[in-house]
């Protein structure tokens, strides 16, 4: 995890109504590559992602990003597990972040169309986003997240409800983004997907950090009993 200045998470904690949800976590993530956050349901994956993105109020601790801007949202985008559709056309959904930046409508729509082609979303541009299937919706959300070329892309179980074909399409896009240098942090409970994608793995359980390591090493020989059991497919208490 050393080398280039990484993403430093210091004593990050989230409590709601006195009940600890996450942490305190302390770890440093690499500045590049694709990190998978793993763990059973309720382990805090979503909370960690949202905390990294600035969507959760921290009860303690802090996150320090390598570019040091102090505003973690400056060049980040988050893809939610259930894609959030705006009640407008597919094109306008994807173009919306550009419109926020003041890009003129025609240009924004043109770039949206190009982005849609990149993620494999064909032909649906003028139709309302509501008519898309589950896989198409997630591709649209991904296109919308990528259109401002974020430095960091966070994804919360993006393929949880998708079939194999859509999952493959999305993983292809992620590969391309990583190759371009986008920092990707992905939460998933799909072990096979984690194996396919992970450069690094963060393993959580009950809101605590159990293990952290390079992908290949983690899957070959996990160090913690929880991770070992989890990779074997066992249910954790």
């Amino acid at each position: 995890m050393v080398g280039a200045p990484g993403i430093r998470i210091e004593a990050l904690a989230i409590r709601r109504g006195g009940v600890p949800i996450l942490g305190p976590l302390t770890l440093t993530l690499a500045a590049t590559g694709l990190t998978v956050i793993m763990g059973p349901n309720g382990s805090g994956k979503t909370s960690l992602l949202r905390a990294l993105h600035g969507l959760e109020r921290l009860s303690g601790g802090a996150v320090h990003w390598p570019d040091g801007t102090g505003d973690p949202n400056a060049r980040q985008a988050l893809v939610f597990q259930t894609p959030i559709l705006m009640r407008r056309s597919v094109a306008d959904n994807i173009a919306y972040p550009l419109r926020l930046d003041g890009v003129p409508l025609a240009e924004a729509r043109a770039r949206a169309e190009a982005m849609a082609a990149e993620v494999g979303l064909r032909g649906a541009m003028a139709r309302p986003a509501q008519v898309l299937s589950g896989g198409e919706r997630q591709k649209m959300a991904l296109a919308r997240a990528l259109i401002r070329a974020p430095g960091v892309l966070l994804l919360d179980e993006p393929c949880a409800n998708l079939d194999g074909r859509s999952t493959t399409d999305i993983e292809v896009v992620l590969h391309r983004a990583r190759a371009r240098g986008t920092r990707i942090i992905l939460a998933t409970h799909d072990i096979a997907q984690a194996r396919r994608l992970a450069d690094d793995v963060v393993f959580l359980h009950h809101g605590q950090l159990i293990e952290v390591g390079a992908g290949a090493a983690f899957f070959a020989q996990p160090l913690s009993p929880e991770a070992t059991a989890y990779l074997k497919g066992e249910l954790l208490p």
Partner: protein
């Protein structure tokens, strides 16, 4: 004046029943004539009603839509109080609103110098007070639901408060237009407030509803029924518009 011979008991009742039926039929016939012939009074009254209620709805929407949206996305300590007050204002009996406006704009009252009592402007003011809370409340509920959907996305995308309100108002426009139409429906059928502050002056402040009240009270059912048909037609048109709007919601073509 020659007196009619007194009818006895049952025969008299049936006679009176038939007479009442004739009244109504006569009234209907008269109404048909007035409508078909585009009676000048009819048109004048209808135009005044539309002028007052459309203006009141537009002014109310201008105030209430942004207010409702802003309330939905803002967090401040008095927010709950404001919402409670808004809902309470919705329950204001229109005639009481009329009374308060009357007292304020009477020459003997605080804003009497404006000389607005018994003018269409006073009618608009009264209707704005009645209608704006309705539109604001519906707008607030609609936008709040939409905000619940959009919340994480808009914050994730770093949208400013103004940008959020703009996105919510635009994406929620059909529901907001429906809210405005609901406000218009309330305004066009309102009679208590505009009777009190307008004075039902012939050719000046006589609207559909107050004219119906007047004609019915005089026993002139022909004109009253004709006016009533127009009012019903307007109400149906409004409801049709709402219906068509919610259908386009599904196809989202605009």
């Amino acid at each position: 004046m020659p007196l009619e011979p007194a009818a006895t008991g049952r025969r008299r009742d049936r006679g009176m029943g038939r007479a009442a039926m004739n009244e109504i039929l006569q009234g209907l016939a008269q109404a048909a004539q007035l409508l078909a012939g585009l009676d000048a009074d009819l048109i004048e009254i209808t135009l005044l009603s539309l002028r007052v209620s459309v203006t009141a709805t537009l002014v109310s929407a201008l105030i209430a839509l942004p207010l409702g949206a802003w309330l939905a996305v803002s967090r401040f300590r008095a927010r709950r109080v404001v919402i409670v007050v808004l809902n309470a204002l919705m329950g204001l009996p229109p005639v009481v609103v009329g009374l308060v406006v009357y007292v304020i704009f009477s020459r003997a009252g605080p804003l009497g110098v404006l000389g607005l009592l018994f003018t269409p402007t006073a009618m608009v003011i009264a209707q704005v007070i009645i209608v704006a809370p309705i539109i604001a409340s519906i707008a607030h509920q609609t936008i709040r639901d939409l905000w619940a959907d959009y919340h994480d996305l808009l914050i994730s995308l770093n949208a400013t408060r103004a940008q959020r309100i703009k996105a919510l108002l635009w994406d929620g426009r059909r529901a907001l237009i429906t809210a405005a139409l609901a406000g218009f429906g309330r305004a066009i059928g309102e009679v208590g407030a505009i009777m009190v502050v307008g004075g039902n002056i012939d050719h000046a402040t006589r609207a559909l509803t107050t004219a119906i009240a007047l004609e019915t009270g005089k026993g002139d059912f022909g004109m009253a029924l004709a006016l009533g048909f127009i009012l019903i037609a307007l109400a149906v048109a409004v409801n049709l518009a709402v219906h068509l709007l919610s259908r386009t919601e599904r196809s989202s073509r605009w």
